[in-house]
Assembly symmetry: C2
Homo-oligomer: 344 residues x 2
Amino acid sequence: MNLKQLSQSLGLSQTTVSRALNGYPEVREETRQRVVAAAAAANYTPNSRARRLATGRSMAIGHVMPLTGREEMVNPIFADFIAGAGEVYAREGYDLLLSMVPANGTEAAYRQMASNASVDGVMVQAPTLDDPRVPLLQELGLPFLVHGRTASPEAYSWLDVANVRAFRRATDFLLDLGHRKIALLNGQESLDFALRRRRGMEEALAERGLAPNPLWMRSDIMTEQYGYRTAGELLDSDTPPTAFLVSSIIPAIGVRRAVGERGLRTGRDISIVCHDDALSYLDNDGLNAPEGPAFTSTRSSIRAAGRRCAEILLDLIDNPDQPFVQELWETDLTLGRSTGPAPT
Amino acid sequence: MNLKQLSQSLGLSQTTVSRALNGYPEVREETRQRVVAAAAAANYTPNSRARRLATGRSMAIGHVMPLTGREEMVNPIFADFIAGAGEVYAREGYDLLLSMVPANGTEAAYRQMASNASVDGVMVQAPTLDDPRVPLLQELGLPFLVHGRTASPEAYSWLDVANVRAFRRATDFLLDLGHRKIALLNGQESLDFALRRRRGMEEALAERGLAPNPLWMRSDIMTEQYGYRTAGELLDSDTPPTAFLVSSIIPAIGVRRAVGERGLRTGRDISIVCHDDALSYLDNDGLNAPEGPAFTSTRSSIRAAGRRCAEILLDLIDNPDQPFVQELWETDLTLGRSTGPAPT
DNA sequence: TCGCCAACCCAAAGCGCTTTGGAGAGACCG
DNA sequence: CGGTCTCTCCAAAGCGCTTTGGGTTGGCGA
């Protein structure tokens, strides 16, 4: 069933039927009702391909998901972010176009999207310090929103969490508990957020006249194995740290495993603070858990960020001439059972 | 730059330019070269909207991601599956259209996709025993592939892992180690795979004249919290199990946490066997870990399944008249450090 | 009665591509 | 040397929608 057939069966022109369905005022209410009823009865939906061509809008947003590392891994954080954004897209009638590309192919992917006009805008995730995608998208004139920031975040729209403050706060918390030997298990420091978190920790240490121990400052893709092995290595060293500051709940699980395997108790012998993106299947929240959260964490829902990012991006598409939208989200420090006073 | 402009700048017709770019034989090789060079120079890509309308093909595959449970959670397993499928789509020039819908809205989502012709085929994940999507998609005439099976899997194409055999094998393994008090932490048993896994366990028990203890047969959304709380509850009961059979590595992490918090050691006091989907950030594999896998597990890469599913689906779209494709994958039982002889 | 204005509705022209159905120019053949 | 192919290329007709630029009708004021 297409528009032509539908309009013929109604004895109306395509114009009128189209207008009736799209809610234009030039059609009598009674006629509209009739059209809408007939469309519903015939199970008619405008062909999206034709509509996209006619309107010149794709009604789709591109997300490029890089497959990182030697194993081309997919970050579960992206999944939750996309879930949040997808909710908003669905609500607003947009499609989510997901493009899976090798880590070095993201630029080509965006270029392609711009050139063949398959999307109305794109979402940029996990920017590096000096991310080439930002100038690229500016050059291409494709509306975009960055989740995170680059080193010079003045001239585009973004949403980010206050990473420096979050990790400064987390470090302060550990210092207040008496910990002096604190390891940082950071994400890849080519990524902007990781560098900010490191800075947060360093600032907190510096404020008390402490210097970070380079041996304890680690950085890699945030897998469970990374947490497990790095923590194991540090715990087995001559001067093991008493506390771990971890950039994600996933490596923090690995740290906990390493701690447990050595007969130590998390929260008593070893303290762990991590950043918690509130991944739904790895829920650390105390609201649902009477015993409280497992990890003490700086918490910020990546899902909620996805939702908000989608809203901003769609708004940017609708109103291209507005000033840059730049939102900084504070995190909570949630107390869990993974921290305790430094052992004496 | 569009086709018209490009062809004018070349002094050729749109027909010829289109054919040259699409590799049709009616155009002289020399001319083709000239066209291709000009297109590259002008950074021209055919407008995908127009192309889709003209060809009648969407060059897109729909994935519907249900947000399950009260919290509308997003299953990280879907993410890895999609990553695998997305690789294949990208390679074959297809887009991946991701639709995020509430759990009860999947049917409407597929119906919409069929009616407005926005995709050439759809992927069905996590089918229930008597999944309404199968007859629906048959009725709609939309090519589809099911990852998993329903209770009567004769008349459509699917790819599944041998769940019964996997969990029978896992149960046998625990029984051989002397365990008699085995708890099952299953996924939601409205889903077909969960029921098959349960059956596998029950068959293995029955074969040795054992009956499952209803108190130890649990079933829910496979979060870390679910594993943690259920295991905690069982461990604190009068007759705690000595082994846990868990449907996913995520709740298995929760079980391990509950075990650790009670001062027990996983693999010595309590054994855990889980199904491992080989999620990239929760890698349990021994290949990369000199100390071996953390969990003893029935293992099957969900990412690889996604890749293969995509291949099958695209093939189904290209050749609609072929017989049903039905692939059953066996799992490996990987020995890890989470199992040991039953304590006496 | 005429003119004007809403209120409704329509024919037709795109949107930018693919594809059908030739057409012209040589090449080859008997 | 006319006829038949093969090689190249082109004009024009869609694909199914939206949107422009009117047309027709009836009501109402002058």
